[in-house]
Symmetry: none
Subunit: 230 residues, 2 copies
């Protein structure tokens, strides 16, 4: 039996082109032009995955996601416009399984859909899935090298990103400088311990530039650092 997918977008072009592609791949597609009709339709014809545009008339994707998630664990992929990374951040924070920025290729969407479906059925053990870190107000998406604090993007360098990721992925866990070094570079590299301190300094400075109160990177004297969930 074919996998049924709901597609919700107010742009008729996208609706038709995407549905054609997906149907060619053997999926069954339910198209909706706005959130309200989608919600009603979903109640009658359940699907196994939903692709939602964020910006829509009458009921936008965010609201729709909330209502969907209120009653089920339906996997959801967001479509977002290029510029508002804030929206994507919020979407992910709200629990979307993945998201794609417009314009996107059909091939990419297809790959994401398959990945999300695979994860939904096999549990989270899929190593290819988006490895999104979400800790309170902090949001990190390694695939897109995206980091945001309270919805505002924080521009991080690669090294900073890896260190923060290592800390935030396991909040509360104490990491010594060697462990953070391993996370940022591979193992077996010879660098001064204090280099980590510099990166921590820059991390704190960058996030504090957005939020004076930020203090979730905690120092443990003589041990290392840990990320404190807010």
């Amino acid at each position: 039996m074919a996998t049924r997918i709901a597609l919700v977008d107010d742009d008729q072009n996208i609706l038709t082109s995407v549905s054609l592609t997906l149907e060619a791949e053997g999926f069954e597609i339910d198209c909706y032009h706005d959130g309200e009709t989608a919600l009603r339709g979903l109640a009658q014809r359940p699907v196994e995955l939903a692709v939602l545009d964020i910006k829509m008339p009458r009921m936008d994707g965010m609201e729709l996601l909330q209502k969907i998630r209120a009653g089920s664990s339906l996997p959801v992929i967001f479509l977002t416009s290029k510029d508002d990374e804030l929206d994507e951040a919020l979407g992910l924070g709200m629990g979307a399984d993945d998201y794609i920025t417009k314009p996107f290729s059909q091939r990419l969407l297809l790959a994401r859909i398959r990945a999300v479906l695979r994860r939904a059925s096999h549990g989270d053990m899929d190593p290819e899935g988006p490895n999104i870190v979400r800790q309170g107000e902090l949001l990190m998406d390694p695939d897109r090298h995206l980091c945001s604090w309270k919805g505002n993007e924080v521009k991080l360098t690669v090294t900073e990103f890896l260190i923060l990721q290592a800390l935030a992925a396991r909040p509360g866990m104490v990491k010594n400088r060697d462990q953070l070094m391993d996370a940022a570079y591979g193992e077996s590299i010879f660098l001064d311990d204090r280099t980590i301190d510099s990166h921590i300094k820059r991390l704190r400075r960058k996030i504090r530039a957005l939020d004076k109160e930020f203090d979730n990177i905690e120092t443990l004297y003589g041990i290392g650092y840990k990320y404190r969930a807010s």
Copy 2:
């Protein structure tokens, strides 16, 4: 015969993904959405381990744990959202065997489950398990460098932590100053015995700042110290 595990969470996402993973590993999973139904279900279908979310509608994990522990010694692992919340400290103080902060990887949960099961069957001699010390109102978690007394965090330095850990890990056992020195530093170090006295002094002071009545670190004249279970 497969090991049966109860999984209690109000988040359907977690329920499905975790249960799928665990079933793939050969466990049998009983899912519950809230504490009340879980309690009823457990009475009818006993399990060998329970994984509980702390925050749940109708009856939260804490209350559920109490009721479970009232009648059995079922191993329990907690799921928590916030790391520093003393909720977990209380949960552990109440007798949970381990806890994991969300978000967590399936791999990690699996490892914890196996560790807890192994400890439950082989006694407490498992060296890989979480090295959590729980003695009455005192709680220590070396991985997070977390120490709490009656639910309030006590900020300890590394040396203090190690000494208190050595004492509390074997309550009632007398430790002389050399033994405590070995616990804090490696063996083969040359220091004045009285240094231990200083650390004991600071430990008592820090905990007494939270609780005037604290007197579980007992002095044995001419011998050493011991931690008295309350």
